[in-house]
C-alpha cells in the first residue's frame, strides 16, 4: 500500500519526469531483469537516460559531470533492483537518487574549492550549455551566453541544497512538497531555502546589471 509520501512523489507534473513505459510494462521488465536478463536492464537505462542526464545537468551545470552522476544512479539502481518493491515508479526512484547525488557532488566541489583554493572558473562555463539559441543573431546570442554565465556564477554562491531546490522548483517545476519528499526535508525548510536562493539571485543579478 503506497504511503501518502509515495503517492505525492509518484504524481510528477507535466514539466517533470514523464515516461513512455506504463507501470505494468515496468513491472514485467523488472521481472525479466531479476531473472537475469541483462538486455532488460539496458532497455531500462535507455528509457530513462534522457531525463536523468537532463536533471543532473541542470542541477550541477556540466554535461560531463551529469553523465557521471547518471551512470552512478543507474549502477545504484542495478544494485537495488533485487529488493525493489515497486511501491514507486523507477522514474521516481531515479529522480530522487539523482537529486541526492547532485547535492553530494556540489558539496564535494565546494569543499575542493575551499580546501585546495581551486576557484571554479566562472568565466568559462560549460560551452555546450552556453551554446545559446542558434536562431539568435550573434549579438543576442552573446547576451544570452552572458546571462547564462552570470546565472551560473550566482547559483554557485548558493549552498548545494539551495541550488538544487531552486533548480527543481524554478526549472523543473516540481512542487515544494515533492522536493521535500525527495530530499527528506520538511516543507517549511524547503520554502525557506527557496526564498533565500531567490533573494541571493535577485541581489546578485541587480549588482551585475549595475556593473
Amino acid at each position: 500500500m503506497p504511503t501518502a509520501t509515495t503517492a505525492i512523489v509518484d504524481s510528477l507534473p507535466e514539466s517533470g519526469y514523464s515516461q513512455t513505459m506504463t507501470a505494468a510494462d515496468e513491472q514485467l521488465l523488472l521481472e525479466r531483469i531479476r531473472a537475469g536478463d541483462d538486455s532488460g536492464f539496458e532497455q531500462l537505462v535507455r528509457e530513462h537516460t534522457g531525463k536523468v542526464i537532463g536533471l543532473a545537468w541542470r542541477l550541477v551545470g556540466s554535461k560531463e559531470e551529469a553523465e557521471d552522476l547518471a551512470q552512478e544512479a543507474f549502477l545504484r539502481l542495478h544494485r537495488s533492483l533485487p529488493g525493489f518493491r515497486g511501491d514507486s515508479r523507477i522514474s521516481t526512484w531515479l529522480y530522487r537518487t539523482t537529486t541526492r547525488l547532485a547535492i553530494d557532488h556540489l558539496r564535494r566541489e565546494r569543499i575542493k574549492r575551499r580546501l585546495f583554493f581551486f576557484r571554479q572558473d566562472n568565466d568559462a562555463p560549460d560551452p555546450v550549455e552556453l551554446a545559446g539559441d542558434s536562431r539568435l543573431d550573434p549579438g543576442r546570442e552573446f547576451q544570452s551566453q552572458e546571462a547564462m554565465r552570470l546565472l551560473r556564477k550566482s547559483l554557485d554562491k548558493l549552498s548545494p541544497r539551495q541550488q538544487v531546490i531552486f533548480n527543481l522548483r524554478h526549472y523543473e517545476g516540481l512542487p515544494l512538497k515533492e522536493i521535500a519528499a525527495h530530499l527528506d526535508l520538511e516543507t517549511g525548510t524547503v520554502k525557506t531555502h527557496l526564498h533565500r536562493a531567490v533573494m541571493q539571485l535577485r541581489q546578485d543579478l541587480a549588482e551585475y546589471s549595475e556593473e
Binding site: 541483462d38 536492464f41 539496458e42 532497455q43 537505462v45 535507455r46 528509457e47 537516460t49 534522457g50 542526464i53 537532463g54 536533471l55 545537468w57 541542470r58 551545470g61 554535461k63 551529469a66 553523465e67 547518471a70 551512470q71 543507474f74 549502477l75 542495478h78 550549455e129 551554446a131 544570452s144 546571462a147 547564462m148 546565472l151 522548483r169 524554478h170 526549472y171 512542487p175 515544494l176 520554502k191 525557506t192 527557496l194 526564498h195 531567490v198 533573494m199 539571485l201 535577485r202 543579478l205
Partner: protein, 149 residues
C-alpha cells in the same frame, strides 16, 4: 492597506511559485505596495535564462553501453580472487605431477650365450643404443666363434 498586513518577501516568492495559501494571496487584491513588489519579482524571475539541458538522441545508447561495461568490470573484479586461487592451485598440481627425474644409466653385463634363455636375454638385453654399437657386436661374434672352438 495597513503595511503590517503586507506580505513578506518569502510570501511574495511563494505566491509567485503558486505555493502560498490562497487566503494569504488575497491580500494582493487590496495592496498596491505588495502588488508592485510582486511585479518586480515576476519580471526578474521570469527573465532568468533557461539553460538547455537536453541530451542528444544517442545518449541512452551510450549510457547503456557505459553502464553495462561497468557492471561487467565489477563482476570480473568479484571473481578475480577466486580465479587467482584456482590458478595457483592448478599450477601447483601440474608441477607436482609432472616432476619426472632422469633414470640412472644401466650397467650392462654380458652373460654366457649358452645359458641365455629368451627371457633372460630380454632381461640382459642391453639398451638399444648399445646394440647400435657395431664394433661391440663384432666383438660378440668373435667371442662366439672362440667359444665354439
Amino acid at each position: 492597506m495597513n503595511s503590517k498586513d503586507c506580505m513578506t518577501e518569502q510570501e511574495l516568492t511563494l505566491h509567485y511559485y503558486g505555493e502560498l495559501d490562497a487566503s494569504r494571496s488575497r491580500h494582493l487584491a487590496d495592496c498596491q505596495r505588495c502588488t508592485e513588489h510582486l511585479e518586480a519579482l515576476t519580471t526578474e524571475l521570469a527573465g532568468l535564462p533557461k539553460p538547455d539541458c537536453t541530451p542528444d538522441a544517442l545518449a541512452g545508447v551510450r549510457m547503456a553501453a557505459r553502464v553495462t561495461e561497468q557492471l561487467t568490470n565489477r563482476r570480473r573484479r568479484r571473481w578475480l580472487p577466486a580465479l587467482g586461487a584456482v590458478a595457483v592451485a592448478t599450477l601447483a598440481l601440474v608441477i607436482t605431477f609432472s616432476y619426472n627425474p632422469q633414470p640412472e644409466p644401466v650397467q650392462v653385463t654380458l652373460s654366457s650365450p649358452a645359458a641365455a634363455t629368451p627371457m633372460s636375454l630380454e632381461e640382459d638385453m642391453p639398451d638399444i643404443d648399445f646394440l647400435e654399437d657395431i664394433e661391440l657386436l663384432k666383438e660378440l661374434d668373435l667371442l662366439t666363434q672362440i667359444e665354439g672352438v
